[in-house]
């Protein structure tokens, strides 16, 4: 099969970007979307042109490195699927596909489709942890955790930090990402001691990093490759409320 890709090209952070359209041939439906871009890049290199820069690593949907806006949708048309897991069989032969970076004030473009998501690390460093030094932990079975609680914590912990929720949100809010982390720790006994301070600090950092507020569009949930539920945002709000009351 073949497709036309209309790709965002931008030399660096400060440059003006533009779309370029390329034809990519010799594709097979089993191929992943990123393998299609690999094929495009091989073609560009052979012609002496600059390949399209994009991030990826594990290519199996777990590291959260990849992330493109494909035909206007973060991670493309398929639900619960990262860009790297998306297969070409989801596109029609001969179609034109628009490819853009994740756009948000908090994620500046570095080059072409590569963006800077380091704001997420700064949010985690503002309390997205349990304070326990190596070697000082009690026996792992000392505190039983009911299975359903562990499972719910795991549902939230499954977030891969890709940022699609931000890219999909009309306000570029990072609430789903932040809510998932706050929820994970608020459910577990290990997370209780720092529970409220954590919520307040993480949310304040999110705001300071230039992410918008959540106004319940739920676009994040629809774009999330790991099915993180917006219930996490509701819980985050409650944690924040309790935390800010305590602070007074």
């Amino acid at each position: 099969m073949k497709v036309n890709v209309k790709v965002w090209r931008q030399e660096n952070k400060d440059a003006q970007g533009r779309f370029e359209t390329y034809e990519v041939v010799n594709l097979i439906p089993e191929m992943s979307f990123l393998e299609m871009l690999d094929t495009l890049n091989e073609q560009l290199l052979k012609r002496g042109e600059r390949p399209v820069e994009f991030d990826s690593d594990c290519r199996e949907g777990i590291c959260g490195t990849c992330g493109l806006v494909i035909d206007g949708m973060a991670h493309g048309p398929k639900r619960a699927c990262t860009t790297c897991e998306l297969r070409m069989r989801n596109f029609n032969d001969g179609s034109t596909i628009t490819v853009e970076p994740f756009r948000a004030q908090g994620f500046p473009v570095l080059r072409d489709l590569v963006v800077d998501r380091s704001a997420f690390d700064r949010i985690i460093s503002a309390g997205g942890y349990v304070s326990v030094n190596s070697g000082s932990a009690p026996d792992a079975n000392a505190i039983p955790i009911p299975k359903d609680i562990a499972e719910r914590a795991m549902d939230s912990a499954a977030c891969i930090g890709c940022g699609a929720c931000v890219a999909a949100c009309p306000n570029a809010s990072a609430s789903l990402f932040v809510g998932a982390k706050i929820t994970q720790f608020s459910l577990l006994p290990q997370g209780q001691a720092e529970r409220h301070k954590r919520a307040v600090r993480m949310i304040e950092t999110m705001d300071n990093e230039g992410f918008g507020n959540c106004s319940n569009h739920a676009e994040c949930e629809a774009a999330c490759p790991k099915n993180i539920s917006i219930d996490n945002i509701a819980r985050m709000r409650r944690e924040y409320m309790k935390g800010s009351l305590k602070a007074v």
């Binding site: 959260g64 490195t65 079975n141 562990a150």
Partner: protein, 642 residues
Amino acid sequence: MIADKSILDSKIPEGPIQEKWANHKASVKLVNPANKRKYTVIVVGTGLAGGAAAATMGELGYNVLNFCIQDSPRRAHSVAAQGGINAAKNYQNDGDSAWRLFYDTIKGGDYRAREANVYRLAELSTSIIDQSVAAGVPFAREYGGTLANRSFGGAQVSRTFYARGQTGQQLLLGAYSALMRQVDSGRVKLFPRREMLDVVKVEGRARGIVCRNLVTGELEKYAADAVCVATGGYSTVFFLSTMAVNCNATAIWRCYKQGALFGNPCFTQIHPTCLPQAGDDQSKLTLMSESLRNDGRVWVPKKKKDDRRPQDIPEDERDYFLERKYPAFGNLAPRDISSRAAKEVCDAGYGVGPTGFSVYLDFGEAIGRLGENVIRERYGNLFSMYHEITDENPYEQPMRIYPAPHYTMGGLWVDYNLMTTIPGLYALGEANFSDHGANRLGASALMQGLADGYFVIPSTISDFLAEHRPDGLNTTHEAFTEIEQKVADQTKQLLGINGSKTVREYHWELGRIMWERVGMARNDEGLKKAITDIQALRTDYWKNVKVGGEGQELNKNLEFAGRVADFLELGELMARDALTREESCGGHFREEHQTDDGEAKRDDERFCHVAAWEYKGDNETPARHEENLTFDNAKLTQRSYK
């Protein structure tokens, strides 16, 4: 083969195996807590090994600089581990103990690992679980709230802890959160999107690194009192593997070229349960966790080239070849054995799928026995991943799997303290050669990475640092300028060739050579040919590769070009190591050395040792050193899983 023991002092502590680590910890020199912040330690890598090491050394008060290639430390390839992590907790009361885990690991590695290291690993395994749970890792649990376990390839007890099919992700996020806490406290400074391109030595001792800022393309220099590389494995030398596309050997390879010995480079693991290849432009192979073999049964049709749908093939016309050949372990036989068995049936014409190079992994019986819900709970995300990639529903028809390169037991040679042969240079996690011998058992790499990072290095490094006080050395020292120039020259050279073949084309060709001749089955003739073919490919690379773009900018193709240049050298060393090891052991299968029924046949007389290679210069034959292995606790026997 000259055994030069003087440079290979493993520094194994005296005493009975159960007491070595405790005694050693009690005897290492300590750095006064108030002085720790005056020491700078570089940690390259943020996977389980690097992330845990950086976090823990930060907690102890050292000034830590932590580097990684990805945009965030949380994306290190440890994140992709699916199945689980071993620990001798004996929570299931099925007779497990540190001793048994030690024994299984030594045997699984086919008696080519150091006893003392493996015992320490088994001993530390329990603390890893405690640490991870305390950090908020949501491991699977029983209804009563206690931790759940499953069994994993090559073990007869249930000692594997897991978090759905995302154990690596959850453990890494645990280490990452500990790391980010130290970043918050200011003790760890993070340097993401950096690639270490060389180590800097001053008076023979590792004192820093040169790396490329992958956003600006600038070269950056960092000085320290010690350097730890935890840069992961090098299966990507095969081009197609289960590793992430950025996994590389560059950091450890450049350390090797600066004098660190490389241990057992040919010991690679080919994992039995991966998705078969679908096309030539494929960029990687996807692993289906081995935990699937707990409930899935592996089979091929008894008739060659049987093209009936699997559902239509009656029970008695199926060959459950693992259960048939290894009745005691069945579908849970170790990886090397299961992979070779699959290759054999496919080579003999019984393979299934479009290419004939795959075998079935069938859940029909388990779904019948346990119900679809139980299977969904255990493996849901793996099943949906499979469905997504292949467009086939594994709840309805068996999966198709085939072996793929997955893990490298080889790596930088280290002593008991994890120090390489360059003083002050340490190697942790998959980047070192230490604990898995000739074959790694499932669920033990996560264990090793975290043991090295959380518990071993924080203890052993103080022994060195206490003896080497901070001396104010910084990057203005000429050794840094020299290495920076060397790295800059290589970049310039790569960009200047401007030939006609792409980096990827070379990598693909190297991968073919490695897979065909240095893969699952090796022989004298093939290995010799691999060496000359790789040499020719390398020569051609430096004449005809096309990289494109500039050095001073974000240029991923240039990053790959440097990595492939190193693979083209490493591949040759792997072949050389495989050629000189004239025995079969674990994942290293020399066709000339097999038992009557086709199993790996060791030669303990001649090869009960670690081969450690010393770089002697470009186009010079490297020197092979031997570290003899002694087995005072485990009994050297022919491995049997029948």
